[in-house]
């Protein structure tokens, strides 16, 4: 009896201690944040506005707003902070534009079957239009065909749906908006190469899910830069399925086989942060460049502290807004451009302050 009482007391003390330390952490964070607010906010807002302008130009003439149309949105998974962010942006934009949106997702990054099933269920409802981002080029094709049959407009945002397959199945996409994935990989690789300098060195790429649009595009873009730069040696390209844990393990193994590696490009922030953690844990973070894509909130904070060297950003708010506008155009029977592309920004620790209020 005495022994368990002792254990319990120690347990309570530890909890207490953690709480106290936690409080101290919070208070310093708050005061620092308050100081920075005013001037930086303006710079970020200006950058977002510039990003939005490029998108809106492609969508002229703009559709009528505040008509209350119902739009269904299917993202990949809400277990990934990128899509969670995008969901918020969609909901924000929907309020601004006066439409009703409902955002659904598959349970995991790889569950292609469930994503299709969710799409089919959404088609049975009364949406006028759908904005869909497939896990893979082919898994949503049957759903697109079904939507066409019901007269629901289909806009593809982000990772691409296989247009040929859709055509073969007797369907069509009504609109497409994306970022240039290759460009993302290319610009990230350019930064890494520039930072490594003329001495050159070894680099590696950690991909997402093989075959997925964003993964393939970013890998291709980065690979082109790495292979065409003298002095740079691309030692490994490995998939980590957008998964934090897998990326951590791959980065650790990379270090083992190439202890002198200078830069790692990861196809998204989730994996980049995991790689940074892995290098940190091995005591080998310093002097190496780790770059991600998406500029999620977590990445933003990490670039601020130096944990991450940089990420490729585009304004999610502007992107989501443009997506909805594009969908509205299709619903209202207007002509649309072949593909609407979002401009990119390279955010690094050098210019992070200008992006601290990016959204």
């Amino acid at each position: 009896m005495r022994k368990s009482k002792q254990v319990f007391t120690i347990f309570v003390l530890i909890i207490l201690m953690l709480n106290i330390i936690g409080c101290a952490n919070n208070s310093t964070k708050n005061t620092a944040a308050e100081k920075e607010k005013a001037p930086v906010e303006q710079i970020s807002d200006a950058k977002v506005a510039a990003n939005e302008k490029v998108l809106l130009e492609q969508l002229q003439p703009l559709p009528k707003t505040n008509q209350g149309e119902k739009i269904g949105i299917l993202v990949i998974t809400l277990a990934n902070p990128y899509w969670v962010s995008l969901k918020k942006s969609y909901e924000l934009a929907s309020k601004e534009l006066g439409v009703n949106v409902e955002v659904m997702a598959a349970p995991t990054e790889g569950d292609t079957k469930s994503q299709l099933e969710t799409l089919q269920a959404m088609i049975a409802k009364d949406y006028k239009g759908l904005i869909i981002s497939p896990i893979e080029p082919n898994n949503l094709v049957p759903g697109v065909v079904n939507a066409n049959k019901k007269g629901i407009k289909v806009v593809n945002l982000g990772p691409g749906i296989n247009v040929d397959a859709v055509k073969d199945a007797g369907g069509k996409l009504d609109g497409r908006i994306t970022v240039d994935f290759e460009e993302q990989g290319q610009r990230a690789a350019e930064y890494i190469v520039e930072k490594i300098g003329k001495d050159g060195g070894k680099v590696a790429i950690i991909q997402g899910i093989p075959g997925a649009g964003q993964s393939e595009g970013r890998t291709t873009g980065a690979k082109k830069v790495f292979e065409n730069t003298p002095g740079i040696k691309l030692v490994s390209i490995q998939p980590a399925n957008w998964d934090r844990n897998t990326a951590y393990n791959i980065a650790t193994n990379l270090l083992q086989s190439n202890p002198d590696i200078k830069g790692i490009f990861c196809c998204n922030d989730v994996m980049a942060l995991a790689a940074a953690d892995a290098l940190e844990a091995a005591g080998k973070r310093n002097g190496r460049i780790i770059f991600g894509v998406d500029f999620t909130d977590e990445a933003k904070a990490a670039i601020g502290t130096g944990k991450l060297d940089g990420s490729i950003a585009y304004s999610m708010d502007a992107y989501a807004k443009a997506g909805i506008l594009l969908c509205l155009k299709t619903i209202q029977g207007m002509d649309v451009p072949q593909t609407v592309k979002s401009p990119l920004a390279v955010v690094t620790k050098e210019n992070i302050k200008e992006y601290s209020n990016w959204h």
Binding site: P107, D111, T118, E136, N138, N241
Partner: protein, 325 residues
């Protein structure tokens, strides 16, 4: 009331199915009140379509669980069979032959599971856990991790085709369901499947080749998993090495929910089918009601736990449920 209680605790099959049927009915009523889209034909087509896949795999699993065993490798088998079909078709093999190859692959894996479990008397959980990894690894190696896509229309018809208002996956499911019910209830294989779960030693001492029958049961499970692979691959027009993730858990959930005893000896195909429908309706209903997928995970997990608890309470005093082994 005493009568009802007695029916409840002795694991009377008919009673438990009536109970499940009631739950099904209540769910339909609740969901149709909650959303006007639930009862539309379009939506029901989706539910039946999606449940079809689960039914196919769960029926094979029903047989395995009736013997008191389990098969954790069905998801991997689905993936491997899809990959085999894909590789064959891309190598120029005809669609029919490719499908046959894929199903054979599934049967072979099932047979090896069955052999290890019946001949060497190894624990089914461990054996199929191992097979699950081996087969998944094989699928990844064959495809080098990259999904194979683009198949002839004759193949994708199996996932997306139309036969009147129905489609091939539904028809496969109906066929497998009828076949499964026939075999389990009316044939020697069915009787012996239940006996394997109830008292394998009794079967052995009665001079029956019990090991052979056990092998057959696991082979059946492999075949239904391969058929599941056919449906998924045809529907998505892609053979993914990572397909079939969690299929085994869905199948086991449906079997347990349907009233089959995990200790073996007592099972029902009808129950499995009703459970698949129930789970399909719930997934669909939650999507229609715009509830995010993590709540779906939670909801379905809770239902499964409740089902297991109810099942145990029901079967506690049922004959043959408590065993030494």
């Amino acid at each position: 009331m005493q009568q009802v209680k007695r029916l409840f605790v002795t694991g009377n099959q008919n009673f438990s199915q009536i109970l499940l049927g009631l739950v099904l009915l209540i769910t339909v009523i609740v969901l149709s009140l909650a959303s006007p889209f639930f009862l539309t034909w379009d939506n029901w087509r989706n539910i039946l379509d999606q449940s079809a896949l689960q039914v196919i795999i769960a029926i094979g699993m029903t047989f395995v669980i009736c013997t008191g065993g389990i098969d954790l490798s069905v998801g991997s088998i689905s993936a491997l069979s899809g990959v085999c079909m894909a590789v064959a078709m891309h190598a120029g093999v005809s669609v029919e032959l490719a499908i046959l190859l894929g199903i054979t692959a599934g049967a072979l894996v099932g047979m090896s599971n069955g052999w290890l479990i019946s001949q060497l008397n190894l624990n089914p959980f461990i054996v199929t856990l191992g097979t699950m990894s081996v087969v998944r690894g094989a699928a990844l190696i064959i495809t080098t991790g990259i999904p194979i896509y683009g198949f002839p229309k004759a193949f994708t018809w199996w996932g997306n085709g139309h036969i009147g208002p129905l489609n091939p996956p539904m028809l496969i499911a109906v066929f497998i369901a009828l076949l499964g019910a026939l075999v389990l209830n009316k044939t020697k294989l069915g009787y012996y499947t239940l006996a394997l779960g109830g008292n394998e030693e009794a079967l052995r001492r009665s001079g029956v080749a019990h090991k052979v029958y056990k092998l057959m049961v696991y082979t059946i499970c492999g075949i239904t998993a391969a058929l599941g692979g056919l449906v998924v691959t045809a529907r998505l027009n892609t053979a993914e090495p990572l397909a079939g993730w969690m299929f085994e858990l869905d199948a086991i959930a449906a079997v347990v929910l349907g009233g089959t005893d995990m200790k073996g000896g007592r099972g029902s195909i009808t129950g499995t089918i009703m459970a698949c429908l129930l789970l399909g309706m719930l997934r669909n209903g939650l999507t229609i009601l715009n509830i995010p997928s993590y709540y779906q995970q939670l909801a379905i997990g809770i239902i499964i736990l409740v089902a297991i608890i109810v099942s145990e309470l029901r079967l506690r005093n049922a004959p043959g449920h408590q065993k030494n082994s």
